[in-house]
């Protein structure tokens, strides 16, 4: 039985007087590939921010790798590819190697420079996402799909056990989305737990091992096949508007 690496218990979160999350009980087991779906404004990004420690829950508790989030210091155990990775300043003069090296900043700690072993690790992470030919290119010169791979390499270089990806395929073409999911499966086989936030329900039910549907509160957490077998009407109730799930299946 795999252990829980994330546990949220009775979590509420408010932005001022507006409630974003209500009574969330949720866990992630080691080795899972979780697809987090839900409508815009349903609290997906808020949930991610809570897990990353960028926001604190108004009520309830969160534990990561068996430790309460307040005490959790091993930030390198969690890799993160944000929505904003798609909107970084493309004119920024940083090579692929320099961007991936950023992923080691926290693990190294203050006042420590990168060693030869670190540089080797950076090269390995770039090779893992198949981008070694571009190591010395400026990141702004790459395509959207290639940039996304580099941000995944940055998240992977610190050997995370949990990789969180927030809408990583926005702006990436269909061919590269397929390659991207193949890469995720390879990582999952290496026992990296994945939490992927997406709007694309069809793709998610096809790839994830568990689907979580969130709209302020948790509406579904279970097998993607069960989610797929639900009627459009049932899922539309979670979303609060009409949906057509068939159209996005791959």
């Amino acid at each position: 039985m795999n252990e829980d690496i994330v546990n949220m218990h009775s979590v509420d979160f408010y932005y001022g007087s507006r409630q974003a999350l209500s009574n969330i009980d949720f866990s992630i087991k080691s080795g899972e590939f979780i697809g987090l779906v839900g409508p815009n404004g349903g609290g997906k990004t808020t949930l991610i921010k809570l897990l990353l420690g960028l926001e604190k829950p108004t009520n309830g508790s969160i534990s990561l790798f068996g430790q309460s989030i307040e005490r959790f210091k091993q930030k390198n155990k969690i890799g993160y590819v944000s929505q904003k990775s798609n909107t970084f300043n493309r004119g920024f003069p940083a090579t692929v190697e320099e961007v991936v090296a950023m992923g080691l900043t926290s693990k190294k700690g203050y006042f420590r420079r990168f060693t030869k072993q670190d540089k080797q690790k950076i090269k390995q992470a770039i090779a893992l996402v198949g981008m070694e030919a571009y190591s010395h290119d400026n990141i702004g010169d790459l395509s959207g799909g290639q940039q996304q791979r580099i941000f995944i390499a940055r998240a992977l270089v610190s050997d995370p056990e949990l990789l969180i990806l927030d809408e990583p395929t926005v702006g990436v073409d269909a061919e590269n989305v397929e390659k991207f999911f193949n890469l995720l499966h390879e990582l999952n086989k290496k026992n990296i737990t994945l939490l992927l936030v997406t709007h694309d329900i069809g793709t998610m039910t096809h790839h994830a091992s568990q689907v979580v549907c969130l709209n302020k509160t948790l509406h579904f957490h279970g097998d993607p096949k069960v989610f797929q077998e639900m009627t459009d009407q049932e899922v539309s109730q979670f979303y609060g508007h009409q949906l057509n799930l068939v159209s996005h299946q791959h």
Binding site: L54, N76, F88, F92, P93, A94, S106, D137
Partner: protein
Amino acid sequence: MLANLLEFEFLRNTFLTGIIIGIIAPLLGAFIVVRRLSLIADALSHVTLAGIAFGLLMEKKTGILWITPFYSGLGFSVIGAILIERLRRVYTAFQELAIPIILSGGVGLSVIFISIANGFNTDLYNYLFGSVSAVSRNDLFSIIVIAIIVCAVIFLFYKELFLLSFDEEHAEVTGIHAKRIHFIFILLTALVIAASIRIVGVLLVSALMTLPVAASIRIAKGFKQTIIYAIIFGEVAVILGLISGYYLEIPPGGTIVVLLIFLLIATIIGKKITQSLLNRKHQSHGEVLK
């Protein structure tokens, strides 16, 4: 100039200061430019002017000599940096507002101090546009100390500063104390501006921090290369600007900045020519394959 350089201490001081600020201004400027904070240097330089005017006023009215314009400028610059940070937190949605507030505040204070003193002699002119004869031995020692602090802090916090510049959210996620590091960074900017003002002047100091980087960014691959090229451009402009300023009897601030503009234009044209040559090569290669 070489013979005079050996003969006159003030020229040696100026030359050494020029070489030092030719390194530290573009070094810090690289982070300023990529963080899109170029105007912060302008705001702080105007606050420094208020500090300098305050120091000159003290000298003139009270005869207090231990508050030299250099140290009062440095003090005001650091206070301005702290205020900018405070204002950026107050106006989180309009952080750029901090810059015009501090800039106009600096100019306003300068006008008041200058008026109270009933104007100053040419010394103020030197502070506005720089001078080849304005660096004392004490100033030089202070500038060396500032340079050591700036280089040491950037060496120690390079990876954190780089990450913060590229992706502030990611920096916070990985547990980096973004606010503290940013505060240190703004303080360094204040120090570098205070150190550079003697040579390039209040009105042109931000140019020495941003123009070499603007030129470098056109041709560099990666951030480290951007810093190296920016320092080379900065040094070339400072050394040639000081020499030409000395012989032409023009404030070096002007000659340094004009040289930097020439370098910037040269890199822009050079990059375009290289790009079009590369495109032609690719086109002809394509035709051969056909």
